[in-house]
Symmetry: none
Subunit: 207 residues, 4 copies
DNA sequence: AATGAATGAGGGTTCATTCAT
DNA sequence: GATGAATGAACCCTCATTCAT
């Protein structure tokens, strides 16, 4: 019953993915992964140097894609002179669209990366995402509320909170749902809710 | 070097609070707590019967207060005939106000209770909170969007998502901030954002 | 040096049996068992779920046999109308014979079950045995010494003492000897001694 | 609230005696003894070097008395030319009487010494007692059953078993009863039972 | 003389990782 | 390649003993 190396490696990846999704990085058990893959624990170490290594090999690609998306978005935000509110919301939409794209390709990996990577080297990825969104929202706020000066502390904090909340909310939707259409619908609704709220807030402040 | 008992107990509580906040209940290590408190692991057991007991003694009081708040709110939701949108938002405000009150007294404990209690007896508290808010939002949606029939699946999911997001967002604010006034401000802003969004959504749907 | 699984399991059982016999259930040390078995403590848990599980797997079978014997004997004692002295002595002989049978198969286990199981789920087995024998002897005494009334307190105590002594004596023989024939001989002698003594006591009392 | 040294030492002794009787040497807890004595654990070590030392100081005196009794009895057995059955039974009675005497003075200590000293230096005392009784019974058997030759192995074993059983039975009576008169009655009955049995056995063998 | 907080070695147990087969 | 038994460090916890006060 000889199994080709790639088949085995694949079955390990699959089993590991399921285990990481179920228990998160820290509580995932190598033994359970081996069992689910139909092999022995020791054999995993012929394919992966360590639990960390296995996790990395599964999650790294999507983390890289996400990082790349973030990099591009950040560049746009940094380099483009976008003062109009709609421009910024566009960028938010683009971030959202990118996440949706990644999700369609690798929903499990993305969920793990964003929600279940505590204790691994990717624990900070979510924060990077938040930082980016924060930057965008800060600019929106500055442009609209303090075009010539400094954003009041209150609004700075508010921007940060909204950024955190938006990203975490998307993560929660990913955590709680599997169906792509449902997720898209809920994220749309969420973004609508946030954008409406933000617009109203700005209107109110400008009044 | 002999230290007074209360000092030691206090330093254990402090160290434990930090450790629980850093690693959560399950991954918190008694040895690390002991190290941080400047004593040996065994000595902790002169002050607390077990890891569980230590956690409970730190978190129980605030959990009890929170449970009491939930109980009262649930009673109101169940018993009162409140069909007006404003009634429901009032209840949301009350929940918020209660949380703020608890927070002012014990921010770290509340964070641990809501975000880091996995594996302990308090693991379900956040979910209870979400369930309550979900119930309220569902009633608002039903009253406004489908007063005579059943809420569409789409709006059911939406209500659940919003409930989850609201509570988790408040938890995030608690996690990220220590100053009471800042927290109050941010939560107010968040609730305003959500309520505005919800109102607009309803208006849109009714149009 | 890789050893076959069964060999290791066997060596654990052997080491555990020796350790339990030497120190009893409570004071037996997993680390010592591991040392004696030539392995590490953690490895024991590949073969047995817990100290309890290890003890049970060693002792349970013989406990079940013993319990079954007790059950049958108790039924006979309860249901049969046996007023003759000889009937009762017959039952004692039967209990004895059953114990001998069990012993031939598993002397060490029986010793542990009866003498060294404090703290385990089997702690009460010896007392059950004593209670059964006590019941029988009480009936003999009542039938012979107070056929129409109540047995004097003195004889009640005496019956209890003799029951305890008989069972404990058998346990001692089991503890001190390994050879089946020797044990059978000694128990026979012991029962003869007790039965003779009891008969004489009764004759004396009736005179 | 200065307490005289002797009072404290006394209260420790009293508390320790109760604890040792309740849990035996091994499982007795220094902390519980301290609590029961109304002092702190550390203070015990001003009066006793160790748990062992405390146990020794309580049990040693009675162990010495017992040893002395044994020594004298052994001398009699060794030096006296006693061929008659009755002489030997007399010695058995004397051993019994000595034990009873010791018991009347220090029932708790004797019970502990004989039944609850596992793990201490006195664990073997009971065996010494058994050895002495064994010697006596062996001589009786030899004199009666093989006056000119060697006692058959069967009877040697039998003698040992009877010796063991007699002593352990007395220990059981001490363990189960507190009232001096009851104990005396039961031991008498036991000795009568044994002696009758032994006599009958000899008669039977000689027939 | 007394305290009682603190220690440290040991208890049972788990699990990622290694390695002889 | 693959096995899976074995390891070793870590987990929470207990308790006789010590020692600064």
């Amino acid at each position: 019953m000889q199994i080709l190396k790639d088949e085995v490696k694949n079955s390990i990846r699959q089993a590991a993915l399921a285990e990481f999704k179920k228990h998160g990085y820290l509580k995932a058990s190598i033994r359970q992964i081996a069992d689910a893959a139909g092999i022995t624990p020791g054999n995993i170490y012929r394919y992966f140097k360590s639990k960390d290594d296995l996790f990395d090999e599964l999650i790294q690609p999507i983390q890289e894609q996400l990082t790349e998306v973030l990099r591009v978005c950040k560049q746009e935000v940094d380099n483009t002179l976008c003062t109009a509110l709609s421009d910024h919301l566009l960028i938010l939409r683009r971030i959202d669209a990118s996440l949706m794209l990644l999700f369609k390709e690798s929903s499990t990996e993305l969920t793990i990366l964003l929600n279940l990577s505590e204790g691994s080297q990717f624990a900070s990825v979510k924060q990077d995402l938040i930082t980016l969104v924060h930057q965008i929202i800060s600019e929106v706020f500055t442009a609209e509320l303090a075009p010539t000066g400094t954003l009041p502390l209150r609004d700075q904090l508010s921007a940060r909170m909204i950024a955190t909340t938006m990203i975490e909310s998307i993560c929660l939707i990913l955590r709680d749902h599997e169906d792509g259409d449902t997720i898209k619908m809920l994220v749309d609704e969420l973004l609508y809710l946030f954008c409406t709220g933000i617009s109203e807030k700005i209107k109110l402040a400008q009044a």
